[in-house]
């Protein structure tokens, strides 16, 4: 790589004014405080081992999701020493996880309070690539976090959407660097460093499909993780993660199966129509209003049950597959542009940062109930709320609407 630009930037930053020295007593005071902490004996052997386990996992190259799951199990194991009902070979489990180059599992993603779920077959590689596909192969998403690429393919329509996550604004940084599992790993690491926020509950044993499993539940900040694993081998059978109203259930784990590299390729296949999704240009309130308007006009005045990642699919169902084809029997580019614009509007809601506390309450609501709030959020840096009613007009409000069945949205609904 050409060093010249870096040298020029170094020249610029070399001109930074000299950093001020710390206050006279800061260094000495901190030194004493650090030594006091150094001297403090560990109060619990499990904490000591958890930190060792966590440190081991973080310094060895293993797939990130397995680090989070393993650390969660480590936390539980050492929080309940001597509980023979929930014992399993931890060392064996850690070896299985640490040796994993590839993991395949099935994940079902749903929003709590909604019966709508999406089931995906997921493949994760230890170099931070992931492939998710619907069970029928109708939608395939490939994520290459290191290279900052997300590709979604719809083989039946030969369409592709490409996202360069390197252009993502700050609050979408998790698109670029981590999914919810890596978030979980970071929380584990933070808990390891801070020795805080670890609360675990043993769930005893139960038989699932003829197999006896040991269960644990761990809370990390706003994530609740429930693990059912083979008590002898430590192999996970089922992991449930509840986070901000979204639940992911992972089952059917298989480790280190041989997979073709092409499954993780972000190259667009020949013959596909590609749409680049510009994450640097965020959709606006007006885009969301337009999308709601389009949907309700197609759905006899009703609003969608929920806002999810597959709004484009819902639009296609509403207009009918046959309308995707033009008079020349080709895929209509105009219609595909409408699908993308439609989905784009809903992304305004789906991509809200967590701090915005965005909520959706449009299920079962029609346009005729004009004052009924269907969506609201708190803009960054403001104390007031923006509330969208069924009349499709935004208004400001000092308080959030109090609506039963409202569902809090979060960025996790873009990724599972």
């Amino acid at each position: 790589m050409n060093q010249e630009p870096e040298n020029q930037w170094q020249e610029l930053f070399d001109q930074l004014p000299t950093a001020p020295l710390s206050h006279d007593d800061h260094e000495q005071t901190l030194r004493q405080q650090a030594l006091d902490v150094y001297d403090r004996p560990e109060t619990s052997s499990w904490k000591h081992h958890l930190k060792s386990t966590g440190e081991y996992l973080m310094t060895h190259k293993i797939s990130r999701w397995t680090a989070t799951a393993a650390a969660a199990l480590a936390a539980i194991w050492f929080l309940i020493p001597g509980n023979s009902n929930s014992t399993f070979a931890m060392d064996t489990f850690i070896k299985v996880i640490s040796n994993a180059k590839m993991v395949q599992y099935q994940s079902t993603v749903g929003t709590i309070g909604s019966s709508t779920t999406t089931t995906l077959k997921t493949y994760c590689s230890d170099d931070n690539r992931m492939r998710m596909e619907t069970l029928d192969g109708s939608v395939i998403t490939i994520v290459d976090t290191e290279r900052g690429k997300i590709v979604t393919l719809v083989p039946s329509l030969k369409t592709a959407t490409f996202i360069d996550t390197g252009q993502a604004p700050e609050h979408l940084d998790r698109l670029q660097t981590k999914n919810w599992l890596v978030d979980f790993r970071d929380m584990i690491q933070s808990a390891q460093e801070n020795e805080t926020d670890l609360s675990a509950k043993p769930l005893g044993e139960q038989e699932i499909d003829g197999v006896t499993l040991a269960g644990f539940r761990v809370g990390f900040a706003s994530n609740l993780v429930t693990v059912w694993a083979n008590p002898q081998t430590g192999k996970p059978n089922r992991i449930e993660v509840d986070s901000f109203g979204t639940q992911v259930v992972m089952t059917d784990f298989e480790f280190n199966i041989e997979l073709d590299e092409s499954l993780f390729s972000t190259e667009i296949p020949d013959g596909y129509t590609t749409k680049d999704f510009d994450v640097s240009k965020l959709p606006t309130e007006e885009d969301l209003i337009q999308s709601f308007r389009i949907y309700s006009e197609l759905a006899n005045g009703e609003f969608p049950k929920t806002i999810t990642r597959d709004m484009g699919k819902q639009y296609i169902e509403l207009i009918g597959q046959e309308n995707l084809i033009d008079d020349d029997n080709n895929l209509s580019q105009d219609v595909m542009d409408q699908v993308v614009a439609f989905q784009n509007g809903f992304l305004f809601a789906a991509l809200m940062p967590m701090e915005s506390q965005a909520h959706y309450a449009g299920q079962g609501v029609s346009r005729s109930t004009s004052e009924r709030p269907i969506f609201w959020y708190k803009p960054e840096g403001q104390d007031s709320w923006r509330v969208l009613g069924a009349s499709l007009k935004f208004r400001d409000s000092k308080v959030a609407p109090d609506v039963t069945d409202a569902v809090q949205l979060n960025i996790g609904q873009l990724n599972d």
Partner: protein
């Protein structure tokens, strides 16, 4: 950039790293050796002395808690681990909007960047000031900010940055290049805005 005490022989520092988990005095020596390096990095990143002190404190208290379990055997291992903790602490700190504003307020007081450096990097013959530089940095992603800071505020190599952030070296190179391009474009845009404003004022 303040470097650790030069009178500490490298072999001695490595001995401290190896024994710090069980030897209090070694841990104390490591603190003495690395304090100024970490404080200086925090100062350049956060600009407000009191905040840099707070973050430095968090770093070393975490080191003190975790030193017995660290896998570090070389000075280089320890240094990377230290910067990893520091990066995480700084990022946690910067997630608060009010902290970002404090940085920009402090940057205003730092005045302008030297013209020669600006002309080399940017197309216009207009100075930029440090507030604009830190504003532009603040608009990058968290990862890009970390990479730029580690590269230019602490002179870490690409490989060292990769180890600190647990990325591949190639990823760091690509991300750094991308971040610098974004930085340049943003500063050029800010310069253009200044020129336009100045032009309007003259006409007005």
């Amino acid at each position: 950039m303040t470097e650790p005490s030069t009178h500490d022989h490298p072999d001695l520092v490595e001995e401290w790293v190896r024994t710090a988990a069980t030897n209090r005095e070694s841990f104390g020596h490591l603190f003495d050796h690395f304090y100024s390096l970490i404080f200086a990095y925090c100062s350049r990143r956060l600009l407000v002395r009191a905040i840099a002190e707070d973050v430095t404190s968090e770093v070393f208290l975490k080191v003190a808690k975790a030193i017995r379990d660290t896998q570090c055997v070389t000075t280089e291992d320890f240094r990377k681990w230290l910067f990893r903790i520091t990066t995480n602490e700084i990022n946690a700190h910067l997630r608060k909007t009010i902290r970002r504003r404090e940085i920009l307020d402090a940057a205003v007081k730092m005045g302008a960047v030297g013209k020669e450096a600006c002309v080399k990097l940017l197309s216009h013959d207009v100075e930029v000031d440090w507030e604009q530089v830190y504003r532009a940095i603040g608009e990058l992603t968290q990862r890009e900010q970390s990479i730029i800071s580690l590269r230019f505020f602490s002179s870490l190599s690409h490989d060292e940055i990769a180890a600190v952030l647990q990325l591949k070296s190639g990823t760091v190179r690509v991300a750094l290049n991308r971040a610098l391009n974004k930085l340049r474009e943003r500063l050029q845009q800010l310069q253009t805005d200044v020129l336009l404003t100045s032009s309007r004022r003259k006409r007005g």
